[in-house]
């Protein structure tokens, strides 16, 4: 029997009797990171990295959560597991599972570039590698973070000069904090939607260094903060809350913004191409560095990506994913 198998409940390890990022309630779950399509409610026991734990507690409430540091080895039944940085968001991990000398790595979501916030991705040698393929097409190639930072700051400065509030739509966990690290606070104040500020508070509490932000809740008077940039989840951009700010421009920060049609469908003023997932080049380099021969492709352009890997000499197969819906797209 394989070390890891793909079941209707999620990725299962028989040797250790645990699941990785399960979709349905199971007794024991190892969680790669805190995004809602990976860390779900209702598990008997959770195991996550110490850095990911505070946000998971914040999101999932009173759960039985055990933590593990990067690189620490732990024996569960006949399996030895360890968590390794995935570079996706703070605390995100690839989960390495070894049984009788055979090594599998479930990488969850990952990116290979250093975002300055998350612990950078570390390749883990293995025999079997489970990879996402959110951006598994050669049309997705990210530019340097510094280039995107300049684009965003130029846009923000332009909005500020025109007397408009700059609204930047992004996912609350990870992307928002990454963007904060890229913003130039000399342009103006950084305001945050409550959903984002709550996550910020959790991260500051655990000692992650974030720039100063102002919670933009119902009590805030927008005109007291001229030239502001507001970070908000995409769902809040058209809300009454956002309209309170009067003249504003709206942008989205996501890897999907690379495609003009998708950018236009969002009907924002701007789209900034920045993702917490690996681009085409990143996926291929990550896979090469694992030295794995067997690749399991999940979440994204699975069929196309697996076909390419097979043509290039790997043994790749598509494994099922439950779709995360819009949230997954926003998070990208």
């Amino acid at each position: 029997m394989s070390v890891l198998t793909f079941t209707p409940d999620g990725i299962y390890c028989a040797a250790g009797d645990f699941y990785i990022d399960p979709w349905r309630p199971v007794p024991r779950a190892l969680i790669t990171h805190g995004h809602a399509d990976h860390a779900r409610w209702g598990m008997g026991n959770y195991l996550a990295s110490d850095i990911a734990a505070p946000v998971m507690r914040h999101r999932l409430g009173d759960i039985a959560l055990d933590t593990i540091t990067y690189g620490e080895r732990r024996v569960i039944g006949d399996a030895t597991v360890s968590f390794h940085p995935a570079g996706h968001v703070p605390g995100s991990a690839q989960i390495r599972v070894e049984v009788a000398g055979e090594v599998w790595v479930a990488s969850g979501d990952y990116k290979v570039v250093d975002d300055g916030l998350s612990t950078p991705f570390e390749p883990v040698k293995c025999h079997h590698f489970i990879t996402e393929s959110t951006f598994g097409l050669p049309v997705f190639r990210w530019q340097d973070q510094a280039v995107i930072a300049t684009q965003i700051n130029d846009w923000w400065a332009g909005c500020a000069a025109a007397g408009k509030t700059a609204f930047l739509g992004c996912y609350a966990l990870g992307k928002a904090q990454r963007l904060m690290s890229m913003l130039n606070p000399e342009i103006g104040p950084i305001l945050t939607h409550t959903a984002i500020e709550n996550t910020n508070a959790v991260m500051r509490d655990q000692g992650i260094d974030l720039v100063d932000t102002i919670r933009a809740d119902a009590d805030l008077t927008p005109k007291d903060h001229p030239g502001a940039l507001v970070l908000a989840p995409p769902s809040a951009l058209g809300s009454a809350w956002a309209r309170k700010f009067g003249a504003r421009e709206t942008a989205f920060a996501s890897g999907w913004m690379a495609v003009r049609g998708i950018r236009r469908r969002r009907a924002g003023d701007r789209g900034f191409v920045i993702s917490d997932h690996a681009d085409w080049v990143g996926l291929l380099s990550a896979i090469k560095e694992t030295r794995a021969e067997n690749i399991y492709v999940t979440h994204g352009y699975t069929d196309i990506f697996a076909r390419y890997l097979n043509a290039e000499g790997w043994t790749a197969e598509v494994v099922p994913t439950e779709f995360g819906g819009d949230e997954a797209e926003d998070a990208a």
């Binding site: 097409l137 190639r141 495609v259 003009r260 049609g261 236009r264 469908r265 390419y308």
Partner: protein
């Protein structure tokens, strides 16, 4: 090409008309004159002749990107645009060039005269030296189809602003058969143009759909009813011994409908008529399918003129004896129009669109239900004492269309949309039952909300049976109500029918698969309405 790319970005990054017009006006005031002319040409659909086939472009792009061709072909429908797909797969440029738009266009024009190997060298060199936006634009110039959210109208407005000229005059200057390689900014935009005034159309008055019961409009005697025709709205202008035919989209169509020239023989100078261009035969309007043969043809072969002759079915008089009549009451304009049309001979290309008499709304509703037999889409209601307004305004004109025909059908194929709808499944093929088989009979792309498109997209991803390139066959499961305006026999379709304006009117989640309609039901509709 940097100026042009900056213009493109400014336009592309905004959804606001004012911002787009300002960016264009700024460009038309400051860019090099030859670049301005080419920009006008590109945005009005005049591009250099395609010198490289898209097949070659795909092969070269895959080669430069170091990916197999099949992978490029898989990515293309997901991005939805060939020029963009190429721009995205190529590795970053080695260096950046700063040649102007005209220079690049001349380079492209020169490609026609060289061998394919030399063309490849030029194209690859461009890809190597242009930044991603410029690359995309270069590819657009190569492949054609420059639809980037700039309508001719928007451009005309920007030109008027940049030059201090008049919008309608500018629109006319850009009409017709000019070649950007031969004209200058001065001759196209600035030089005196005596013909402009004579041809200038009036803005069309456009009706809203009647959404409540007609009783709410008040007394029947205050209203005039006409058939609503299914043709091309047109304005015929007779001035200075010339005639001009304008479409509702302010496109000059004079040469497309040469039979209307004979209007000059019967109608005095200084007249402007509003009406519907219709195919005409045996003394009655013909089905839209007949007119369809004439649409999109800039020149008309003799045989087609004979098989599908058109007339203008006039229903309004906007200018009479050189006077603007738009402030005159509808009933008085109508009286003049009737007088004008009275003496027209049987073979004149202008006919009077009749009014539909009625005493009460109920009787009119009864008449409306027979619209299909009159080759009409429904009725128009016009307030008798109203002026002729500008643009789409509520209150004086209403269109009261027949409810569409509908049929419940099963979705069997799905394809992702392109452009704005890339990454969503929006293009579907529908089938009806023929015994135990499902026979495809129409495609439909519109009618669902964004939310419904997202839901059906998630469903399609999980229920794909087979892929044929970008098309997926899906498990027959979902039933949709398909609404359409007409049905015709067609030998080109497997089902034997072709629908007019098919769209998804409802997602029938309540309806089991087996209860979708059958091919016999469709044939019955063909018999009744075909």
């Amino acid at each position: 090409m940097k100026d042009f790319a900056a213009l493109f970005n400014a336009i592309d990054q905004s959804t606001k008309t004012t911002v787009k017009v300002a960016a264009l006006a700024d460009y038309f005031a400051n860019a090099a004159e030859s670049d301005r002319v080419w920009t006008i040409a590109i945005f009005s659909g005049r591009r250099p002749k395609r010198a490289v086939t898209t097949t070659r472009l795909r092969e070269w792009a895959a080669e430069v990107a170091d990916i197999p061709l099949w992978l490029f072909e898989e990515a293309y429908p997901i991005v939805g645009d060939l020029a963009e797909t190429i721009a995205l797969v190529l590795p970053p440029p080695d260096e950046t060039s700063d040649l102007g738009l005209t220079r690049w266009i001349n380079t492209l024009r020169a490609l026609a005269d060289v061998e394919e190997s030399a063309r490849k060298v030029v194209v690859l060199e461009a890809w190597r030296t242009l930044d991603p936006t410029q690359r995309f634009l270069f590819n657009k110039l190569l492949t054609g189809g420059f639809r980037i959210g700039v309508s001719q109208k928007l451009m005309t407005r920007a030109l008027a602003r940049a030059t201090g000229g008049d919008e309608a005059e500018m629109a006319h200057r850009l009409m017709g058969d000019w070649n950007p390689a031969d004209v200058t900014w001065h001759s196209l935009i600035e030089a005196a143009d005596p013909a402009a005034n004579a041809s200038r159309p009036y803005p069309f008055y456009l009706a809203y759909a009647l959404e409540s019961e007609p009783e709410n409009l008040g007394k029947p005697e205050d209203w005039q009813a006409e058939w609503k025709w299914d043709g091309i709205r047109g304005q015929l202008i007779l001035r200075d011994g010339q005639h001009f035919v304008w479409s509702r989209g302010e496109e000059l169509m004079t040469n497309r409908f040469p039979e209307l020239a004979r209007a000059r023989d019967f109608i005095p100078d200084g007249t402007v008529l509003d009406g519907e261009i219709l195919a005409w035969g045996d003394g009655v309007p013909q089905n839209f399918n007949v007119l369809q043969k004439r649409i999109g043809r800039k020149t008309v072969p003799k045989k087609l003129l004979k098989d599908a002759p058109v007339i203008l079915y006039a229903y309004d008089l906007l200018e009479w004896q050189g006077q603007d009549m738009r402030d005159t009451a509808q009933k008085d304009r109508r009286a003049l129009l009737e007088k004008l049309c009275k003496g027209l001979p049987e073979d004149a290309p202008i006919k009077l669109s009749p009014t539909v008499a009625f005493d009460d709304w109920r009787a009119l509703a009864q008449t409306r239900s027979n619209a299909r037999e009159a080759q009409a889409e429904g009725l128009m209601l016009k307030r008798r004492d109203s002026p002729y307004l500008t643009g789409r305004k509520k209150g004086d004109w209403w269109k009261w269309k027949l409810d569409p025909l509908t049929i419940d059908a099963v979705m069997i194929y799905a394809q992702a949309g392109s452009g704005r709808r890339a990454n969503l499944f929006t293009d579907f093929t529908f089938a009806v039952w023929n015994g135990n088989d499902l026979v495809p009979f129409t495609k439909a792309y519109s009618g669902l909300t964004d939310e419904e498109f997202r839901k059906i997209t998630a469903w399609v991803k999980k229920n794909t049976v087979q892929r044929f390139g970008p098309v997926r066959s899906v498990t027959p499961h979902h039933v949709f109500e398909i609404a359409f305006e007409g049905i015709q026999a067609s030998s080109r379709h497997k089902s034997g029918v072709a629908l007019r304006f098919p769209r998804m009117s409802r997602w029938r989640r309540d309806k089991p698969l087996q209860e979708a309609n059958s091919l016999d039901d469709l044939k019955e509709m063909l018999k009744t309405y075909g």
